[in-house]
Amino acid sequence: MHHLFFNKYFVTMKLLVAFLILFGVQANANVHAQNISLSGKNLTIEKVFAAIKSQTKYLFFYNYEVVQNAKPIEINVKNASINEVLNVVCKEQNFTYTIENKTIVIKAKEIATASVTTEEKQPEIFYLKGYVYGDNNEPLQGASVKIKGTTKSTVTNDKGYFTITITKQEASQNSILISYIGYNNYELKINNKSQITVELSKNIKELNSVIVTNSYSKPKRKEDVTGSIATVSANELQTSRPIESFDKMLEGLAAGVQVEPSTELGTPVKINIRGQNSLTNLFSGNDRALATTSFQPLFVVDGVPILEQRKGDEPILLSNEQYLNPLANLNPDDIESISILKDAAAASIYGANGSNGVIIITTKKGRVGKTKMNVGYSGGWSQSINKLKWLNGYQYHELLRETYMNDGRSPFDAELLAGASNISTPWFELTNRYASVQNVDFDLSGGNENTQYRFSTSYLNQQAIQKANDYEKIYFRLRIDHQLAKKLSLSVSMAPTLTKKNGVNIYSNVPIIPNVPAFNADGSFYKLSSLGVPNPLAVIAQNVNQHNGGSFNGNMRLEYAIKKNLRISTILGADALINKQNTFRSPKNATGESVQGSAQIYDRTSFSWINSSQINWSPTFQQIHKIDATVGFEARSEQVKLLTGTGTGFSYYRLNEISNATTRNSASSKEGNSAYSVYGQALYNLKGKYNVSISGRYDASSIFGTDVNATVNAAAGFGWIVSNEKWFAKALWLDMFRLRYSYGTTGNSRIGSAEARGIYTFTNTGYNDVVSATLSTPPNPFLSWERSLKSNAGLDFNFLKRFSFSVDYYTNIIDDGISAVNINPTTGFTTVLANIAKMRNRGVDAAISAQIFTGKFTWTSTLNFGYNRNVVLEVKNNTERFSTSEGASVLKAGISTTAIWGFKFAGIDPQTGVETYYDKDGKIVNARNLDRTASNAYYLGDRLPDAQGGFINTFGYNGLTVSIIINYSFGAENLISYSKENNGRNLQNSNQSVNLLDRWQKPGDVATVPKLSTGISGLGNPLIPNSTRYLYNDTYLKLSSVTLSYSLPKNLVQKLHGVTVSVFANGNNLAYWYKQKSPENRNGIKEYKFQFPEAQSFTWGARFGF
């Protein structure tokens, strides 16, 4: 398999090199204009050619028969371009010319092919042809093309192509005007050009633009879409930010899309579209790793789903593998647009995988026109912000001494046990740094009517602020669109990505106590052996945790137009991922000392393929009935293979490959699942006012039991553009007004493979050296699909020609929610996956965009907002379920699935220094007397916010742009780990928060932290992790990004023959404002939110286009 992969890979590389050379040459040819002066009457064609040749060094290539009947030529030009000269020369001749690579090819005139306009050719007439693209680089169909000052006009076809005939005079003097609803008009002096490529810019966001609605059908005009879809364009994504994957970039950019950030590079983030749509896993740390369905939306890149790495049923030896984010294998710079499908009308075509929403990514492609090349570089650095304040050595010593004394030790013993009082080692500063980030990218694109291509590559090198943690990526992507035959088109894209990540774990373990030195007097690492933890500096220097991997994402799309409105197409996609994680715990520090060093390698390969074939029919009847119907069939399969090897006992620490270990062990695993589906969608548009969409999908999957392995999801949507009604007297200020409604179902099948069938697990250590099989999962034929019923009502309107407003009210009911549940052990089993609960997400998404200024100084502003409430409606068998107290979660009717469940802290008893709590009757009781049965606990808050979103402002003046992203979140609660202020428990082994300084010391003290105690022999407070004492309000406002960029103005670009230059500077994660303030010199939500602090970064860069 590996060989195959690399062979493929090499072929791709060769291809890329070939393309680079080929198109690089052509690019040069087009750059230079030539000035020719020539005059005379009755000149022979040969003379003219010779004159041009001598003045330009261009060669002529022609067949004599073509020019033998040439008419005599009259010409009078000065400093004219070669095209101008040749236009005059060939004007009345029966031949024409093309320029290729400094060679002028003369050939006989042909009848024009497949043009849209069929006006008769006449002498004195030029053809102006071109392509018109919209914001998403999608061809604009139906754009109006006019020659200013004349009545000549045409419209573009489905490829955005047009031709128009003009006179010589018009060609030299008039302008062409291109307009399209929702886009700024484009005006250009024709200047004797014969071909142009135009990219229209949207005149206001969200207004009548074309958007990608799913990966099965062509982009649609936004006003005809009945579903709820948020879009993010390449521009809005602001890929110049130093964020390594696009999913993290989405934070705050789309209404109703919440990104839960992670502070570690290259690891997955959780994205909640309209709240969390799967039940919270109540089984943390349990052997059943997969206790609920996936939380993540479905990501589809150019029609190929990208599958997340999930725990399956692999052997225990494989369970410590670290998962990387597969979405980071997509270069954010290659993204053309992102569409986020939120309601059933939009997502039900993805059927059983659409429950959590679907995110469709469309990558950039080449377009007709000159070869364009961009080179960019950016670099910068980052630092940590909102650091947690730990006790320093002196404070620590003092507190530990007091703790021992509280436990009844003598002052002498306590002083002795508390260690050094004159050492304070700043472990955080020693293990962290200012980190650098660098990125180089290059892309090349272009093409002619038949073939368009785009190639891009990029290199990213990003350091984390913690030492020995960094991340490198090399991306490639090649896309070719080719017209194989008149009715047959092919599109191919290939994207290999290489990854290297170093992630030595130095921070998620216990914080090191501060009153020990980092180094011995001789400079060697001080051993923290009595604590049982390694010296993190030794870990940084000696241990290894490296990922080396690659992914290959490729797809091919074939489309055949049987008739004008009838197409068949097929897409074949493959996604391969290989990753090797190498870890080594050195025998020279505590991580590997006891076993003389340990090495472990995890090898992961996953291959998936997808094939969908479909037929599309899109006729128009009597000009008013438009139909667009698609029916297709899809099959997909995924295989994951895992291999691990471990070794311990290295006689010499540098020889740390497993083969040098004295004890070796290995394990492997293979898993697969497959599914096939039939999907369909029909859109009907009446008179441009009424839209109806119906879509559905049948899915059959290997995951579920044989009785229920298939399901059908369907949805319908309605749209009414009220403002297109004749009776709708357009208010002066109201430009567009539309109503939408949709209702339907989607599902969620991502729960791991073969869960519904009873499973035997094998071991050869069970009995008498004979292989034995024990039943690990009972057959569960009743496990069935989670179903989500979504309804959505929306309203869009645009007003005052500069504002657009969109609001959606939705209800999403998740029925038959899957979760692992405890069952009576008399059944033979203790937990089983079951469809146990029904819950609802209900809320409002809204976005308002405004072009506040549109003149020389521009100001665009977008505010998006998502409000969501979750509630569990019903728990089957009326059985409430609780997680461990540290999990602090509950499954209970009437309460959110993301609720925090625990006990209400009532303060510290000033007399005894003991924590007090409200019991189930509301009485204040001593923590020791609190009945901590989970069912007596309270609802304390919700982990997800009530409302969140982003506020994005962009200012422009003369090529100078300032873009500011502000994120906000209201109403979430955050339960931090109690271990950060552990009341003296475990204080001898790990450092704790400075908040511990506010402890109770003597009767009468009004304290926030109880009397310190190591907790031995029943002294001290019981641990209540699910307490409001550790609960913080997570309402915040974040200045997420400020980008300042400057691009050379258009007139200068023209003077530079199309060379574009832009420079930018970006600040990321600049400032936080929290509603709940941290006490002075103490920790609060701001510091506690992330165990390891977030990074703030500053980058700058430049980009050149040729």
Binding site: P315, S674, I759, Y760, N824
Partner: protein, 467 residues
């Protein structure tokens, strides 16, 4: 490049048909594991499921610790040599509740019912193994029936009052599991003790018949480490003893004793038989450790191997039941160690750890002598009873005089005492106390409840329930 329309359509159609043609497309196997529907399709697969039950018996929650130690800890043979992390301390204190996390027989309960589910799977599906001979299939099935009887019996001993608790055994037993139901089905009510015992005896009788027409199916290990016709009969003799079916007890015990397949160890060989993986000549069924060790009971008894888990020391109550000349007394069969300057005695029946872990002896010939002695005594055949009793008594203590009495109660008491001397740490004491309706008296005991007066609900462990 030119493609005809026909050619294109053929291309599309072929792509679509590739998708549809794979009929088995949705049947994915996971090679780490085998689906229930697949594993019985051949002899080897079916056999592994039976071995799976043996390995369940070898679990820490079953014979490897909890189940075996429960009657020792509660009966008064064991005291703890350490104060923290005491295994079965809830049982020691009789404070098991129906909360799974507050019941230290919960894991045993779980694995027992899990085993029953797996056994029923075998009984339902064994016939699918087309490559197995009838003799092989019969052995698979015989093992399954024996195991089903054994597991039900073991559950019964822990979670229900003894058979004779009510005159007609109509009191609550346990939930019988002879047919697998979907896990989502409601749990049936508990059967009566009589119903459970009837089912156990029926299963074991079925097994005994099947064994006669079967061949061994395992090549590894000693024959005695696998169930057999004799093992089934021996276990059934124990069941009949508990059921007070004295005649059958006598009949089955006699069959084994007179079979000459098993011989009593001599006094001098006795101690050696309790070391390493020696298969004892008097064993009828042992649970064996292979070379790939998963654990050992020795960790709890071997003071030198593991100072962290060591805890099951013999009580003075137990040590006091031996005479000075008994080969099984504190000097001979125990290792004494000072822990915090207090002497503790650890039995050498289970002192092997890791590679030399002792096999778990599930049933030995001595027990059959004692079973028969008790049955003879109960049926007033006192001479025969004394003969059997003295065989065991004098094997352990060669210089002892024969016990002699004409008082049935005295004889039964002496049989009870001999059972304790002979079978201690093998999982009998508390069950013997319970089925003979004795009061529990523990002297060398730190439990809050050292004594129980019969009858008491605490003679049965509360059935754990769902969390």
């Amino acid at each position: 490049m030119k493609l005809t329309k026909k050619y294109t359509i053929v291309l599309f159609v072929s792509i679509i048909s590739i998708q549809i043609s794979c009929k088995k497309f949705l049947e994915q196997d996971t090679p780490n594991k085998v689906a229930v529907t697949e594993i019985f399709k051949d002899f080897e697969g079916a056999r592994t499921t039976v071995v799976g039950i043996y390995s369940n018996l070898m679990d820490y929650s079953y014979y490897l610790r909890d189940f075996t130690m429960y009657p020792e800890v509660t009966g008064g043979n064991i005291k703890y040599s350490k104060s923290t992390a005491q295994v079965l301390s809830r049982s020691y204190n009789f404070i098991n509740t129906d909360f799974a996390s507050e019941n230290d027989m919960n894991s045993f309960y779980q694995i027992a019912y899990e085993s029953l589910y797996a056994i029923n799977n075998i009984i339902t599906n064994f016939n699918q193994a087309t490559d197995a001979s009838t003799f092989q299939k019969n052995r698979i099935l015989a093992d399954a029936y024996t195991l089903r009887g054994l597991v039900h019996f073991d559950l019964m001993r822990v979670f229900a009052q003894a058979y004779n608790f009510t005159p007609d055994a109509s009191h609550e037993g346990i939930v019988l599991r002879t047919v697998n139901k979907p896990v989502t089905d409601p749990i049936p009510p508990k059967s009566t003790a009589k119903e459970v015992f009837d089912q156990i005896i029926k299963d074991m009788d079925t097994a005994i018949v099947l064994y006669k027409n079967s061949v061994p199916i395992y090549s590894n290990g000693n024959d005695k480490t696998w169930l057999s016709e004799n093992a089934a009969k021996a276990l059934l003799s124990r069941v009949c003893l508990y059921k007070e079916d004295w005649n059958r007890t006598i009949g089955l015990s006699s069959e084994i004793i007179s079979s000459n397949n098993y011989t009593l160890l001599s006094n001098s060989n006795y101690i050696n038989s309790w070391s390493k993986k020696n298969i004892s000549s008097e064993s009828i069924f042992e649970l064996a450790f292979g070379n790939r060790i998963a654990g050992s009971l020795g960790d709890y008894f071997n003071p030198f191997a593991n100072s962290l888990t060591i805890q099951f020391a013999a009580t003075n109550d137990l040590l006091n039941v031996y005479s000075n000349t008994d080969i099984r007394n504190g000097l001979n069969l125990y290792t004494s160690v000072l822990i915090n300057s207090n002497p503790f005695y650890f039995t050498r029946k289970y002192q092997g750890t890791n590679d030399s872990a002792n096999n778990i002896k599930v049933i030995r010939l001595t027990e059959l002598y004692l079973n028969r002695a008790e049955a003879y005594a109960q049926t007033n055949n006192l001479t025969a009873a004394l003969a059997d009793l003295n065989v065991i008594r004098r094997r352990g203590n060669s210089s002892a005089a024969n016990f002699s009495s004409t008082d049935k109660t005295a004889i039964l008491n002496e049989i009870f005492a001999e059972r304790r001397r002979e079978l201690c740490f093998e999982g009998h004491l508390f069950f013997d106390i319970s089925r003979t309706k004795r009061n529990l008296r523990r002297v060398d005991c730190t439990s809050g409840t050292p004594n129980l007066n019969y009858p008491d609900s605490r003679y049965a462990v509360t059935t754990p329930r769902n969390l």
